[in-house]
Structures are given as C-alpha cells and as structure tokens.
Symmetry: C2
Subunit: 334 residues, 2 copies
DNA sequence: CTGAAAGCGCTTACAG
DNA sequence: CTGAAAGCGCTTACAG
C-alpha cells in the first residue's frame, strides 16, 4: 500500500508537505504542489483515515444504535441520519440492538472503542440507566433518538401527547365511549407517553377509568390474547387505537378474522402506519411520524454537540401528521 | 482518557503485559493478570480500536453501500448484514448511494480510507465499470449484493429467471395473452434478468413479440405515463407483472384510479411486494425475496474472503418464494 | 513468565 | 516557503 513516504519521495519533498497539500493546512508553492499532486495520482495514494484519526483524536465518524432496524420508521430514521452525516463527510457506524439491552451495551462499547466522535441511540425497551450513566461520566457526546428520557442529553423525538388527544377527541365526538388502546411495551417512552395521553384525554372526556380499555404488555403473545379477549368481551370496544405498526398488524389480523367491518363495526386508527397504505383497503387513519426528519435532526444535534460540548442540551419534538381516512369514519366538522 | 500506560503503571507491569492480558495473546501469571484486570477496572480503561487496527492493519469493520436504503428489501438486507457482522465482532459502516453513481464512488473512497477489511456493495443503477475495476486492482475484498455482474467477484442475489417464468406460465395457463411487464430500470441486473426471463417465457408460450408488452424505463414519470398508456390502449393488458415494490405501487395507483377489479378486470403480480400485505385488500400475488438471508450471506461470503483471499469467487443465488393470492385468480391445478 | 523497543501512517508545533 | 522530528496508542518480534 502506498503511504505518504512513497509519495514524498517521488515528489522530492518531505511528508510534511504532502500532508499539507492533502489537507490544505498551509501554503505550498505552486510548483511543489503540482509535483505532489502528480505523485499522489501516480501512486494512487489514499489517505489512511485511521492514522489520521489517531493523531487528530477525531474520527469523523458517528455511531448509531437502533432498537429495531426492521421497523419501517427506524429504517427511515437511519436514512435520515445517514444522509445528514454523509453530507458532512461523516461516516456512519450502524448497530442494531434488536430490543436487547445486552446487545445494546455491547454495541455502545464497540462504538466507543472505535472512538466515534459521538453516538445516536434509540434505546432498547428494557434498557436500564447504566448506559446513560456511562455517558454522563465521559465526554463522547450522546443524542437520544425517538425514545427519550428525563436525563440531560440532547434528544429528538416526536410529539405524542397532542396527536393522541386529538385522536381520542375525534373518536369521542363520533360517539365512541369504549375505546381500546393497544399500547404495547410502556417501558418505551413513546408508547408510555401515548398511553398517558390516552388516559388523560379519556378522563377529560368524562369516561370513567374502568371504561378506559388499554393493553400494555411487552409480549406479543399476551398482546394478541389481550386483543382477542377485548373483542370477544360482552361489551367490546367500538374503536381501537394501535400505538405502533406491529401492534396495528396484530389488531387488524384479529379484526379481519372476526369479519368486523371498519368503521361500521369498529373504528380503527394507528400510529406510524404502513408503507404505501394509500393503496390498500381499508384506508386507515394514521398518525404519521416524520421519521426521516427525526434521524436528520439527531445527526444535526450531534454535530452541534461535537462542535460545542458546553452548550445546554436541547430536546426537540417533531410534530406528526394525523391522516384521517375511512377507518375512523367521516371526519367531524371542526 | 486512560491508555495502556496508565493501566501498566497502576498494575506495576509493562504495557506488553497489559496488551497480552487484554488480547489473551500469551500466558500471564495469575497474580499479575489479576492486578492488571483490577487496574483496567479502576481506570475504566477502554481499548483504542484505532491504534490497534493501525498496528494490526485490520479494522474488524466492513463497509456496506446500498443503492436505496428506503426500499424495504434493502432495509432487510442491511439487517441481515448487520446481524451477521455483529455476531462476529465486526462493526458495520453504512452508506447509501441513493442510486447516484457519484455518491457511490465517494462512499467507496470514504470506506477504503477507513481501511474497512472488506466491502459489500449493492450498486447504483447507473454505476459504470470504474468502481469494480478499482477493486480488481487492490486487495480489499468486495462482495456484490443483490445487483450482480459478470465480473469475477463474490456475489449474492436472488434467482430471477425461474420465478418470472413460473409467473408467466401461471398467467398464460389462466388464458392471459396480453401480459404487461413493468420492468423499470433494466440497467439494474435484477430487473434486466426479470425482463429477459419474461421475454423468453412469453416466446416459449408462443406469444408473438409484438404482444409482449413491457415498460423499461429509469424515470418514474415515464413509467407512470407508460402504465397509463398501456391501460388505456384499445386492447389493454389483462395481466400485469410489476418488477419491484415501487413499480407495483405505480401500477396499483393507476389500476385503482380506473376502478379496475383484480383479478376480474386485470390480474396482478409483483416482485418484492409490500410489508404486512396479508392484512390488506386486494391480496397480491407476490414473489418474496429472502432479503435478510441475502444480507447475511453477503456478510458470510465477505468474512470467508477476508480469511482467504485466494479462493475462487462464488456466486450465490437464493430462491424467492412465490406467494399466490387472489390478485391472480385461483391457482391452476398443477 | 515478563519487559524494552520498534514501528503502524499520519499531524503538527518548532525551526529556519 | 519547507523540513526534521515528536508522538498519537497500540502490537509484536526479540531477548532474557
């Protein structure tokens, strides 16, 4: 492999000069520069980012750990991070924790060993405080993405309270009282916030606590069972809100199996929703997240933090869009 | 930051010994090892993978460049690569070329500068031979993923000929003669292969060339126009095969707008298909790619190649599954 | 069983 | 306008 020494010899200069030509870090005489450039060309020299990073103690790379790369929303966030990073000459190191706190912890270690300039983390559901505590005690910047926390870190996620409230009010306005929330694993901040907002909005609508139906469980099997039980109860819900794509799929399978029509037999709305959902029947009312934008913002927050470690942490909430479609019936005039 | 020197001092040993304890590269006396381990613990020392990589000229990282991280199939391949890499202690560096050959070329350079041990590449549609030529002249291994080439590299993709043939035969057996193939950008090997197989199968079914309808264009707008034209022709197709999810979406929009019913008015089948497609009407006949497996295999081929650079390149074709659903009508008895 | 030292390929004050 | 040299944090023969 070609190194600077070879280039320098060929051009008849010192490696200092080669370095400065490469990086534009000091003036180099025109003729000298040409010789160096020519030597670089001829030897097809390629800078060694590792050696460079080691000297500069800066790798121009960032780490990204997502909890579930399979979810379309996360796939889009990854693209948002990648796009922004690349445009700044930053390389992205990607890891997937698959909702496993141990895998998450290992990924954090691996990325820190690689001396990433900073880390973006969408925490696994069961992730304890250890990982975050670690970052409080060292100076690699951390940005929390999608799944937020009360700790003093830069964070970017979506607004959950407002859309949940709006959805509940929309359903209540159409006469629904028995609304089932499929919340999933409420250790996940996003899901917890939606659950909390649901309770609040239902209470505000004067629906007594015992009629506020909610399934909050981390296990898919129990979720499925919960949905089955709820739909076969003596007074089943007339409306369902699913808090994620996976949960929506579980609910839709059950609804389909029972031959329930939407919205006549049961109204239905979901967070995140399905790709290309506009093409299919039934048309689902959906809370669409600006996932790409969440990823891009995470990368921007991180870049800012890397540039200035002293600034106050900022927490950014991006607003989702509620797309009303036929699954919740005609939209109430407002 | 803690370095080996600090650990060595605290433990009262040389940095050699610290290194050997860390890597298990030679025997260290039990009591000495304990002291070192304790010192590592106390100083919360973390190995510097950069320095290590530089000495060993091996980074334990691989690069992955995909042409379209947004497509669900690629998102799944990414997961496949990530999963396999992580399980081997390999870090994944991810880049997205967004079907732009220039971005692809820049990504290749960036990753080579980072001295990845190898590279997995799903080429951009318009990518010329330059990138591949570069790899022929240097010794960083390259694995081609999904989009294959005739060049002597390790490659993994899906079988395209057989499923296309099967689909055509299925439709012909149901009496279809005017079948429209929406092939998309045939510079992409996958799409070209499907197009070629289509022509072959149609010819084998004795359907004259002028009745072999196909749209082959790189531009979404022209594709849309082509679909519109085809469907409004005096003798429109009675069946459509779309060669990717994006192309299928374009076709379905047009079909929906015209109020055509599937399969009564028009039969429909698509490659790749939609996530959670089982939940929606209409139920689409789909050629499902083992995308995760493609990614995992790419990572395995690369690992093998890194371990042994002299072996013959291997080309792996994974078989997709055709899922017959109502959009192509009842399945012919076979 | 362990240590001293060379060297991986760069960047960057220091000096002229 | 340019060069000689130190040093980033490791690994690994070499030596005992």
């Amino acid at each position: 492999m070609t190194t600077m020494v070879k280039v320098a010899k060929l051009a008849g200069v010192s490696i200092s000069t080669v370095s400065h030509v490469l990086n534009g870090t000091r003036h180099v005489g025109d003729e000298t520069r040409q010789r160096v450039l020519k030597a670089i060309e001829e030897t097809s020299y390629r800078q060694d980012a590792l050696a460079r990073a080691m000297r500069r103690s800066r790798t121009d790379s960032i780490g990204l750990i997502v909890s579930d790369g399979g979810e379309p929303a996360f796939a889009e966030m990854i693209r948002g991070v990648e796009d922004t990073a690349t445009s700044q000459g930053i390389t992205l190191l990607l890891a997937n924790s698959a909702e496993d706190p141990q895998r998450e912890a290992r990924a954090v270690q691996a990325l820190l060993e690689r001396r990433v300039d900073g880390l973006i983390l969408a925490r696994a559901a069961g992730s304890g405080p250890d990982t975050l505590a670690e970052f409080a005690n060292q100076d690699t910047p951390l940005v929390l993405m999608d799944r937020l926390s009360g700790d003093p870190f830069d964070q970017v996620g979506v607004e959950n309270h407002q859309p949940t409230k709006e959805l509940v009010e929309h359903l209540v306005a159409q006469g629904h009282q028995r609304i089932l929330l499929i919340a999933g694993d409420t250790r996940v901040s996003t899901l917890r916030e939606r659950h909390d907002a649901f309770t609040e909005a239902m209470t505000a609508a004067r629906i007594p606590a015992e009629d506020q139906l909610a399934i909050t469980t981390a296990e898919p099997d129990k979720t499925d069972a919960g949905i089955r039980d709820a739909l076969s109860a003596s007074s089943p819900p007339t409306a369902v809100i699913a808090c994620s794509t996976v949960l929506a799929a579980a609910a839709l399978r059950e609804i389909q199996q029972r031959g329930l029509r939407m919205p006549e037999d049961i109204a239905f709305a979901a967070f995140d929703g399905f790709a290309y959902a506009d093409l299919f029947e039934p048309q689902l009312t959906t809370v669409r997240q600006p996932a790409f934008q969440v990823g891009a913002t995470a990368a921007e927050l991180l870049a800012r933090r890397i540039a200035d470690k002293s600034a106050e942490p900022s927490v950014v909430r991006l607003a989702p869009t509620i797309e009303y479609r036929s699954s919740t019936g005609p939209r109430a005039a407002s």
